[in-house]
């Protein structure tokens, strides 16, 4: 009975007993969830446009962050480093399209997946070679991002602390998603991107240049990666360990659906908040450390009951 009590009742009593702490936990989970969502967003963009599962999205986050910090270390002013990094991501997108995608078009999916794993290790090597392998401090204040924190009092119940960088991350993520939504639905290129996502062959037949579209979509994913890299780097540091964290995007995608931008966001938030709450309130039962695998368990359950995810596009097929 004690066991059931611990699982079913105590955590909720803890939550109710210390609401300020509970809200703090949710906020922490929310911010982590936003970062998961951003990484997942990068995956979704490329998956939609080219059907490629881009294993390299995680390393693109690290690479973008590393380039930014590395350039600044070499004496480039922060704003110029940011512009140069965007340029590097564009160059990377063009190179990936030119030397990988174009050569492998019409090959089976598994070959394209393998090629992205290859890219991952290429970028790891390149990043280490140019900027060194040791973790770096993100240039948060130089980029004009806020660094302080605000404490909000909750009557007599205590107080909640909001890091300004976390608030900035949330705002920037929302702006970016809104911008992407407008881009996809209102512009000629965005429409072409969705067309390519639906049917490559048909897109080709109406004169949409796949090469151009792919370069654009890899660039968009690169920008998303750069944003994620900055935000995540500001919370911890910029290091290759981030690449492992980026794999958390997998359960997020399974939850949200591989083809859905809203899915990536909602999935990210569910995973982020869920694993924080699980870790704090249920973790002690098994000695903690469930944060690292809880997300994958949730994904597994989803695979059993709803394989297309929460928002995955059902395949429209006329019978």
């Amino acid at each position: 009975m004690d066991f059931l009590h611990d699982i079913l009742l105590r955590p909720f009593m803890d939550m109710a007993g210390q609401p300020d702490f509970f809200i703090q936990v949710i906020w922490e989970g929310f911010v982590a969830g936003i970062l998961y969502a951003l990484i997942a967003l990068g995956f979704v963009l490329i998956y939609k446009a080219s059907g490629v599962f881009n294993f390299a999205q995680g390393i693109m986050v690290v690479f973008a962050g590393l380039t930014l910090v590395g350039l600044h270390e070499k004496g480039v002013p922060a704003w110029l480093a940011l512009i140069l990094t965007i340029g590097v991501m564009a160059l990377l997108a063009v190179c990936i399209e030119r030397f990988v995608m174009r050569k492998l078009v019409a090959q089976p999916d598994i070959i394209l997946l393998m090629s992205t794993i290859g890219m991952t290790y290429f970028l790891v090597g390149l990043g280490e070679f140019v900027f060194g392998g040791e973790p770096k401090q993100m240039i948060t204040s130089q980029l004009g991002l806020p660094t302080g924190s605000t404490a909000v009092e909750m009557g007599e119940r205590g107080l909640i602390i909001f890091q300004h960088i976390d608030i900035a991350a949330a705002v920037i993520a929302i702006i970016m998603v809104a911008a992407l939504a407008v881009f996809f639905n209102r512009t000629r290129i965005g429409r072409a991107l969705r067309a390519v996502a639906d049917d490559h062959q048909a897109a080709l037949s109406v004169g949409i240049s796949l090469n151009q579209i792919w370069a654009i979509v890899w660039f968009a994913a690169g920008i998303v990666a750069l944003t994620t890299g900055i935000m995540w780097g500001a919370r911890s540091d910029v290091s290759f360990a981030l690449e492992i964290v980026a794999l958390k995007a997998l359960p997020v995608l399974i939850l949200g659906g591989f083809t859905s931008i809203p899915g990536a966001i909602v999935g990210g938030l569910i995973i982020g908040i869920g694993e924080k709450i699980g870790e704090i309130y249920w973790g002690p039962l098994v000695g903690g450390g469930i944060e690292s695998w809880l997300a994958y368990m949730i994904a597994l359950i989803f695979l059993l009951f709803r394989p297309q995810g929460l928002f995955g596009e059902r395949i429209i097929e006329r019978i």
Partner: protein
């Protein structure tokens, strides 16, 4: 249609000439074994033949969609409006005015009908006003699409999808449309409707058509000229009216039995026409 009366070999106003092309898939599978054909400017030319004869491959060789399927033209050449086009990308070809409507419609299922139509204008650089005017024109030809403009194309009927696919091609301001199997999976009445619109587009917009069709009967009623393809070779060609009266065509493709050929043993094999060697 005065251009139709002349034989294609002597037509100087051909919009498209395919000269003895050979197509190989995956470096080993020989699909077209020397196909030649001519589409006169402003004409409707039918490419007929059974399943697997090579109709789709011929069209894709022209529109250059073969590359994406690991096929390539290994011999011969393709001339569109006087210049060789076999090395151009599909989007360059669309820009020059040659667009394919693929077999099985291939609409963008998650886009609305209107968005589908607008994707057809991707290669155009003449501004939003001209594109909106053409959208209006497409809706004039296909009033049904106007009613369904906000529906996701994946949920529209087969006929509406075929109309969307043709309308989408029209949005690129084509000089020539390669139309692959427009009758596939449609009710006879709808097939008739679609072919009527094809004829209207041909007459009013001056669009030339090369259409691949299994439905020989209807194709020969609307086309001016026909080619018959069998296992990767052109075996017969002529004016549509003449083909309709041809005994062999009647028997093999129109389902009208020839006299005295009750057994399969009597079926004659076509000889390849070695026109290109002459």
């Amino acid at each position: 249609m005065t251009a139709v009366a002349q034989t294609p070999e002597t037509a100087t106003d051909a919009i498209l000439q395919v000269n003895n092309i050979e197509v190989i898939y995956d470096h080993v599978i020989l699909v077209l074994k020397g196909v030649s054909l001519v589409v006169p400017k402003g004409g409707i030319t039918a490419l007929l033949g059974a399943n697997g004869a090579g109709k789709t491959t011929t069209l894709k060789a022209i529109s250059n969609l073969l590359q994406a399927e690991r096929g390539e033209v290994t011999k011969g050449n393709i001339v569109f409006e006087g210049s060789e086009v076999q090395s151009l990308s599909p989007n360059e070809l669309v820009r020059r005015g040659c667009i394919q409507v693929m077999e099985g419609r291939h609409c963008f299922g998650h886009l609305t009908v209107e968005e589908n139509l607008l994707t057809g204008a991707f290669t155009r650089r003449d501004g939003g006003a001209a594109i909106r005017a053409d959208l209006e024109m497409v809706y004039e030809y296909f009033p049904r699409l106007r009613l369904r403009r906000q529906s996701q194309a994946g949920y529209t009927s087969g006929g509406e999808q075929q109309m969307t696919a043709i309308g989408r091609a029209l949005m690129s301001r084509p000089k020539m449309i390669l139309l692959d199997e427009p009758s596939m999976g449609l009710a006879p009445q709808l097939v008739e409707e679609i072919f009527e619109i094809v004829r209207k587009l041909n007459v009013e917009q001056g669009v030339s058509f090369l259409l691949a069709e299994q439905n020989t009967n209807i194709a020969l009623r609307y086309a001016n000229h026909g080619y018959i393809l069998e296992s990767g070779r052109i075996v017969l060609d002529g004016a549509a009216a003449a083909l309709r009266e041809n005994e062999d065509v009647k028997e093999f493709y129109l389902g009208v039995g020839g006299e005295g050929r009750k057994s399969f043993r009597d079926v004659k094999h076509y000889k390849r026409r070695k026109r290109w060697l002459a």
